[in-house]
Symmetry: C2
Subunit: 95 residues, 2 copies
């Protein structure tokens, strides 16, 4: 079992990942589509550079907010709703 400090570290990481307008827009976009999409397609929809996209997807993945599926040279991402449920929807239960 993880201790209190580790629990709040994870929460801080998730809230940091959510605390950015680009990443929130990505989440919104992935939520609407509700299926796997290639990073490149999301990046183009957000009007951001490849490098910036790569940076933001890494932060979302490390926070556990998206899952990643590499197929050929493309990386398909989608929301990991269980993480949102744990830290947002059930915030008070898991605080």
């Amino acid at each position: 079992m993880v201790n209190q400090a580790q629990k709040s570290d994870a929460a801080v990481q998730i809230f940091k990942a959510l605390a950015d307008p680009i990443r929130l827009a990505i989440i919104q976009y992935l939520n609407q589509l509700d299926h796997e999409v290639a990073c490149g397609e999301v990046g183009r929809a957000m009007h951001i550079s490849k490098t910036s996209g790569s940076y933001h997807f890494k932060i979302l993945q490390e926070a556990g907010l998206i899952t990643v599926n590499k197929v050929g040279r493309e990386k398909y991402v989608q929301l990991d709703r269980s993480t949102f449920d744990h830290y947002l929807t059930h915030f008070w239960q898991n605080l």
Copy 2:
């Protein structure tokens, strides 16, 4: 009515306010007590300086996560649960 950009600005502000270990500990503390507490008392419980406390309470207040009630020379704070409900518990409905 606010537009989409304003909505996500507010969300970013709330997630930034949550994205800090001290502020998350303050929220945890206020949640357990579940009543007004003076800033000074919270600050002492968190082992932070007056200045640091003042800084963090300001961020929590500006995000709408706490309400403030000044009585004499003391400032009593408590959680504003409606903001947590809106941005966390009902995250998907308000995205």
